[in-house]
């Protein structure tokens, strides 16, 4: 699998970019040339220079450093939120699809309810009301998307459960929990990976949108979204 991945030029380029971004986020304190929150008010709104490669913002903070630190928020939020989505989605889908019966019915109706929500409005509601802490943001973003993952997993489990290897396991005396975790779960990994990859991208965009409205992480902490929001006012006057 690794060799096939490395031979596909496009996959390789994409992989390198993603890995690079995560490295930048991880090594932010080493890479950032300045303190992201240090204000030098004399150097407000300066254009790019050798000292400040991306220039400075309205409070004289180094934009490159803020962008590097901002990567941490975007990537951390999206990773953890996606993890929550995938874990809950896989769990609900697995149990619902394998156990079936009234439990399946109940779980799927609950899923339907969540699927029918206009998610973005729900998100701005909860974030605005319950305050903008990083923890809550991650939790809400994670909880927002599990229903579609659960649907996906359930459909897969329904078809997997009919296969011979599940029957064989049952004949061999495996109990249901073991069948679900040892026999079914590993077979779900491919679709979970695909679902997670797509989800990470979406969460980054939603987080940026929320912080654009000032609804995500609170101000001194740089995020890509709130940096764009801050800069908007100075589009015509900076430099």
């Amino acid at each position: 699998m690794w060799r096939r991945f490395l031979r596909n030029r496009r996959a390789l380029i994409g992989g390198v970019i993603v890995l690079g971004l995560y490295l930048v986020a991880l090594l932010a304190p080493l890479l950032a040339p300045h303190d992201p929150n240090q204000q030098i008010l004399l150097d407000r709104l300066k254009g790019p220079s050798a000292e400040h490669l991306f220039g400075t913002d309205s409070l004289g903070r180094d934009i490159l450093s803020r962008a590097i630190y901002g990567a941490r928020v975007s990537l951390a939020v999206s990773l953890v939120a996606t993890l929550i989505t995938i874990v809950i989605g896989a769990l609900v889908g697995l149990v619902s699809g394998y156990v079936g019966g009234w439990l399946d019915n109940l779980m799927m109706r609950v899923t339907d309810v969540f699927l029918a929500f206009p998610i973005f409005i729900l998100l701005i509601t909860v974030v605005a009301i319950y305050g903008s802490s990083m923890f809550l943001l991650i939790l809400f973003l994670g909880l927002a998307a599990w229903p579609s993952t659960a649907r996906l997993v359930r459909a897969e489990v329904l078809s997997l459960a009919e296969r011979e290897f599940v029957l064989a396991a049952r004949v061999g005396g495996a109990h249901n929990l073991r069948i679900m975790l040892v026999h079914l779960l590993p077979n779900l990994v491919p679709i979970l990976v695909v679902a997670a990859t797509l989800r990470v991208g979406i969460v980054i965009l939603v987080e940026a949108g929320l912080s654009y409205f000032g609804l995500a992480v609170s101000p001194p902490t740089p995020t890509w979204g709130n940096m764009v929001a801050d800069g908007r006012i100075y589009l015509d006057s900076a430099w």
């Binding site: 609950v110 309810v113 029918a116 206009p118 409005i121 509601t125 605005a128 965009l205 409205f213 979204g225």
Partner: protein, 317 residues
């Protein structure tokens, strides 16, 4: 078929009940008191707060508050905490704006996306295909608020071709489309870009699959013109996944409307949602959530019915 539609509509009732309970719970258990938020913080007295709480019905037990609010919603006398205007009027005033904007974005997204997808599929792995892939991946990856700012900067500030905000020229009212057209261009593009990107991706892969089918070869062998083969044989069969996509796109369009209406200062439902959230205007938030849910459910139902309309093999019982 009509029996199927009826059952689906009936199924919406418990779903909407669940959604209303959850929406209600989310906003009611929130810290902070809407009565205090509405009052002037400098000079509010305890008695004024108490009377405001009573007027807004915030002292009743929660289930009673919920039932009252839902009854108000059904009969149309639910009033905003902030303006005391009936919620149904507030939404009714703004809904045509949001619907018009979403409709335009839908036409732009679906039309543009299908067009790009078809052109790509006719010359797979060519320069043209790569260009189309670039455009659609760009559309996926770009945040809508950023795209909006860049378009405003280019077309409104630098080139001065299009107005930067508003839904119609200042001082005018009504629906004079010729006057409004310049105001609609940028919001439509921003709201429709994500849809266009997904549409292009799905159309491309569906068309590639359809073009390699035997019936397409048969159609070509019969000597049909390429245009007829593409439009009538391949395209019609490729539309199936595209239709489901539309059903799923309704909630995303709704969320996008919040962003676009805020940035372009368009007085629509999305803008109202954001304002109400910040003001803790519970009745308005609840109503908009439920209205959005109805739109989503209707979108999904339309997608399923649309399925049967394009594919005669699909029959619902």
């Amino acid at each position: 078929m009509s029996g199927y539609i009826l059952r689906r509509v009936l199924l919406m009732v418990p779903l909407l009940f669940g959604i209303s309970v959850i929406s209600y719970a989310v906003i009611t258990f929130a810290p902070g008191d809407p009565a205090r938020l509405l009052a002037d913080p400098e000079q509010v007295t305890a008695e004024q707060l108490a009377s405001a709480r009573e007027r807004l019905g915030l002292d009743d037990p929660l289930p009673i508050q919920y039932v009252k609010m839902m009854r108000g919603l059904m009969t149309g006398d639910l009033r905003s905490f902030r303006t005391s205007q009936p919620v149904i009027e507030m939404i009714g005033e703004r809904l045509p704006t949001t619907l018009a904007l979403s409709g335009l974005a839908l036409v732009f997204g679906v039309g543009g996306g299908i067009l790009i997808g078809i052109i790509q599929s006719l010359r797979p792995y060519s320069r043209v295909d790569d260009a189309g892939t670039f455009v659609s991946l760009f559309g996926f990856a770009v945040p809508d608020f950023w795209l909006a700012i860049m378009l405003i900067l280019l077309f409104a500030v630098r080139l001065e071709w299009l107005p930067a905000s508003g839904f119609r020229p200042a001082g005018t009212s009504g629906w004079n489309l010729v006057e409004m057209a310049p105001h609609l261009v940028l919001p439509t593009i921003v709201l429709g870009t994500g849809l266009m990107a997904s549409m292009a991706r799905y159309t491309r892969s569906a068309m590639l699959e359809a073009l390699s089918q035997d019936y397409v070869r048969t159609a070509r062998a019969k000597g049909l013109r390429e245009r007829v083969v593409v439009a009538r044989h391949a395209l019609r069969n490729s539309l199936l996944p595209v239709i489901t996509l539309l059903g799923f796109y309704v909630p995303i369009l709704f969320g996008g409307a919040v962003v676009v209406e805020t940035i372009f200062a368009i007085p629509g439902v999305g803008r109202l949602a954001l304002d109400s959230v910040f003001a803790r205007d519970y009745p308005v938030i609840l109503s908009i959530n439920l209205m959005g849910a109805v739109a989503v459910l209707a979108g999904n139902l339309l997608a399923d019915v649309g399925y049967a309309a394009v594919d005669p093999r699909i029959r619902y019982k």
